[in-house]
Amino acid sequence: MTAAVRMLRETTKSDTAQPIVEVRHISKRYGSSVEALRDINLTFPTGQLTSLLGPSGCGKTTLLKIIAGLLEPTGGEVVVKGKTVTGPGPERAFVFQDFALMPWASVLRNAAFGLELQGIDKKKREETARHYINQVGLSGFENRYPHELSGGMRQRVGLARALAVNADVLLLDEPFSAVDEQNRRKFQEDLLRLREVERKTLIFVTHSIEEAVYLSDRIVLLSPRPGRVSEIIEPHVDRSGPPDLIRRNPAYLDTVEEIWHGLRDYAD
């Protein structure tokens, strides 16, 4: 199966890949003084994982929330599958930095919540939710509550919820920043495996260079105050081997080093 999947990926990676999300001249101001984003132009090809990487204050989360339709841009537009974004839509699903799980609801209900809001009947939505709870490696925890889970497990619920609504684009806002290091690595590996199975387009916000290089097909580097696109990097890391090998791959290490040199000027 993996061979076939990889072949498919090779073809989508070619230059003819249709952009599923286009960001056109997006700018965002808060009040009159703070300029968070200035004239951002980006395309996100179908089926790829693109990271938005940059130091804090570069507006990467703001950009992601504008794509999600949770924030209104001051200028410009976002086009998803040919349609201009005016708010959240069924083709996009969001994974939150702080998980945004309902503490009063079980894992199962949390994972099924997107479907619940669509009015899908209980039996059907729980069946779908169970499938994705299993996919993210949480089967057996369906009736637990969020406070009984570790940070990593909670974010897996958040991911299952986003997968369950079957959106084309997953928007992940620093999903692993509240997860401890070991679990983060495991989760990153699982995410790579999952995207081969689920065939989604992923837009991923992170401040970790290693994480971005490890996961991404493309990395968009943003510079701070105001946020602008400073560089787009395609790491070309061969991810066919075992995870530990990837992290020792020279291409991986070189890219991390290269990005760090580009970013070190912004360190406080």
Binding site: P88, A100, L117
Partner: protein, 240 residues
């Protein structure tokens, strides 16, 4: 607890004051009043305005509180009024209520309402304002409409604080009803206190007062149990 009762017993026996009976006398008085039915019947009378007043205050308070939390113009018009009402000694109005509504049930219900309403409404308001913004964003990003956002996210997330307001409202309601019975007309518990004081049955009087204080504490504690049983599945099932 035992220590406290012992200290009371000793202090009563010394005696510090003629009007300070030992603990055992108070317990005996409690037994006498339960046996002759005066205490239970007084409680029934007192509970009537209390329950009516609390139901009224709860319904109005939660509706207004949630409304103020959700809508800016209601917040603007309502919150300052309730803040003043909560900070001010509303008990000062009880004599006024008496002389307008007479000495009947209405006046006592009103006394309960004016004391319990502000804290219930303000807690409802704060609860809605403190709902996690990320949960609300989550609901919107998964295409929840306004109705779903309110009923599936805002109200459940606000419910612990709303219940905290209800507990405060209940204890304020007890204050209201006791004050009303002491100030307006001696009926129920207030009558028992006034009567036994006037004939210098101090043990009986202490028993009545201790009972009403304990009763209010038990009611508040009971509400907490009900809240956990009905609304907090995550607290009930796995944690001890």
């Amino acid at each position: 607890m035992v220590l406290f009762c012992l200290a009371w017993e000793v202090a009563g026996r010394i005696p510090i004051n003629v009007a300070f009976p030992p603990f055992s006398d108070v317990v005996a008085a409690f037994g006498r009043m339960v046996a002759d039915g005066s205490l239970p019947s007084a409680f029934l009378i007192t509970l009537q305005p209390l329950v009516i007043g609390l139901v009224v205050a709860t319904v109005i308070g939660i509706v207004m509180g949630v409304g103020m939390g959700l809508r800016d113009e209601l917040e603007w018009a309502g919150v300052p009024v309730f803040v003043v009402m909560q900070a001010a000694p509303m008990a000062a109005l009880i004599p006024l209520i008496t002389y307008v509504y007479g000495i009947g049930l209405t006046a006592k219900v009103l006394a309960v309402v004016i004391l319990a309403l502000p804290v219930i409404a303000l807690n409802g308001y704060k609860a809605v304002r403190n709902v996690s913004p990320s949960l609300r964003a989550m609901c919107r990003s998964f295409l929840g409409n306004r109705r779903q956002e309110i009923f599936k996210i805002v109200l459940p997330d606000a419910s612990p604080m709303i219940f905290a307001g209800l507990r405060l409202g209940i204890s304020a309601g007890f204050v209201g009803v006791v004050l009303a019975e002491l100030l307006i007309t001696p009926t129920g518990i207030g009558d028992l206190i006034t009567y036994h004081r006037s004939i210098a049955d101090y043990a009986e009087m202490y028993a009545v007062i201790a009972t009403i204080i304990l009763f209010s504490a038990v009611t508040v504690g009971l509400l907490e149990r009900v809240e956990i049983a009905l609304f907090r599945p995550e607290k009930k099932e796995h944690s001890a």
